[in-house]
Subunit: 390 residues, 2 copies
Amino acid sequence: MDPDFSRLDEYLDENGLDGYAFHDDDSNSNLYYVAGFGAPDPFFAVYTPEQTGVLVSSLEYGRASKEARADVVARHSDYDFQAKREEYGPQAAKYRMVAEFLDDLGCESVAVGDEFPVGTADGLREQGITVDPDPDNVVQDIRATKTEAEIEHVREAQRANEAAMARAEELIRGADREDGVLVREDGEPLTSEYVQQEIEIELLRHGCALDDTIVAGGPQAADAHERGSGPLPADDPVIVDIFPRNKDSKYHSDMTRTFVNGDPSDAHRERYEVTREAFEAALDAVEPGTTGEEVNQAVVDVFEAHGYPTIFTDPSAESGFIHSTGHGVGLDVHEMPSVSHGGEELQPGHVITIEPGLYEPGEGGVRIEDIVVVTEDGYENLTDYEISLT
Amino acid sequence: MDPDFSRLDEYLDENGLDGYAFHDDDSNSNLYYVAGFGAPDPFFAVYTPEQTGVLVSSLEYGRASKEARADVVARHSDYDFQAKREEYGPQAAKYRMVAEFLDDLGCESVAVGDEFPVGTADGLREQGITVDPDPDNVVQDIRATKTEAEIEHVREAQRANEAAMARAEELIRGADREDGVLVREDGEPLTSEYVQQEIEIELLRHGCALDDTIVAGGPQAADAHERGSGPLPADDPVIVDIFPRNKDSKYHSDMTRTFVNGDPSDAHRERYEVTREAFEAALDAVEPGTTGEEVNQAVVDVFEAHGYPTIFTDPSAESGFIHSTGHGVGLDVHEMPSVSHGGEELQPGHVITIEPGLYEPGEGGVRIEDIVVVTEDGYENLTDYEISLT
């Protein structure tokens, strides 16, 4: 993958800045995207239109030299870090070292993401470097538009996702029902934790790691971020939301299905049908030039027409539609563009989720989520998994 | 677990600050430790000696109200975020909202960790809030001393670790040797990826998630952070380094063993024996009042006595002992105290690794790692796993 950094060059030029800097570990996807390298402990990197440099500890030097998309790979010892540390203490020594590294790369002023550590920012400012937080988050914005290779990475993660979802569906639909809960063949209750574990084992077998997995049934499903625990209920919706990360590519996918084993109440059935209608309305709206806000509005319109509250009409709503319609997916499981209030214009190569849901505290919830890529004339659905409640 | 925040109160008092603030997601263990709550998207929290407050989106409000160790749980809609967003744009709206929330908690000045996002720091400063990075990292320092409950969490993660290590050892020692590589029963080469997968499945079955797992053999083992890939070599050391996180408690453990299937060279054997001697010397040095630096020096002394280079005597060394002796382990797999150059005084309740190793580019490496807790009169080794190369 060879990212197109011309927008980054323009940003630096427009703002009169020499480079774009990072100081973070491999949880920072902007850094990974720009430097082509990650490490478990924080390291420093700077992009300039002429060259990219990374500054790492001895421990990471060999790997950085091999892996980083960088013209300059330096290590702490190149800047006499230990001597500086004796003289100035560990923090000030670090800022002095980084300032010297920036000087060697001809950088007197850098843009940084909002998330850049304030300790390093203030430390570099004391060394005379201009550090200018970038409110536009230009690197995230560049990352939002995926290359063909990146889309293929998401596809691969989504195939693993479908295998894991099939395993979850098999466990839930195949369970017996006893005293209102689902029961495994061996007579033990089927729990959220058991289904999560089986999902995650399936993901591992498909080369994926996991952040977390949601298997939430009954009243637990009313909280959209609740992971779920304990025996799963019969006759009630169980939300299964899986968002694996491929270990090699580091790209994610994201999909949700809602399953009932048994006979759901009319209220649950209606919430599912209306959610499905909102889901289809959102997909119909996806095309280049439409904004994420408009796609979200298509969902809100359906829910409102059926009398369900939403946080977009009543920000303090605790039932109904209480989250956004979707989000970008890539190196992060939540990234730009936003498919919500304020969401940007969609462009070909944007990979987004469409995931409306309805929730009722004390009762439960339903959600349906596919992942799609915006194309020149609409979208391609990257998801291949049936949508069915019972 | 009820952390002791008296040191935090002292820090704020000494520095004349009203509170200690966080703006991050659940990857920030300091935030999780103080607020008792994590979320996948960034949220704001502030600790004051009188009360702790968290400010979350509607989506997280229910869970935060239940889970957070907070006296005040507010949500964006309490501060008219949507109206502010229309008026000021998303970033400025966020800073205004947080400034109002701080005002409601009586905070005009806050300490923040070095890693606090500079965008938020600068935004709050524009709103008249003093934001003062804390070079002492007082929350990490408080976290370094574990309660009995926390030590029990590490023990539990370590039991999972031992089960996973046993699975890895069984696969490696039980493999056949063919043309210089290890071979599974089905005739396929035994790869790093296969052993990693089996380790991670075992961890999942024991309630643990994983960050990553190192199974690196032959020349790959010369790079201490290389994960390893491809067929594993016969007759050469394979480093297996496992650092699981218990999903419920979120606490980690960390252990490394090095295995050879076959007949290692004399150079490999010697590196292993000397590493073992350094390992024992380090353990002998662990007791309250000794510094992490002194424990590290015990390792350096053994390696120097046997003629191996170290980065502590030659900072640019690429062979020999090229990383630190150890690190604290808890909510983060790498945390304070440091067992390295500059490492702090050890205190009862510190949980640290002891993990010397020797590496030779082009040939390979060996490492031995246990995890121990410092006690009133020495240490207790939390690791129960045999140490044996062949």
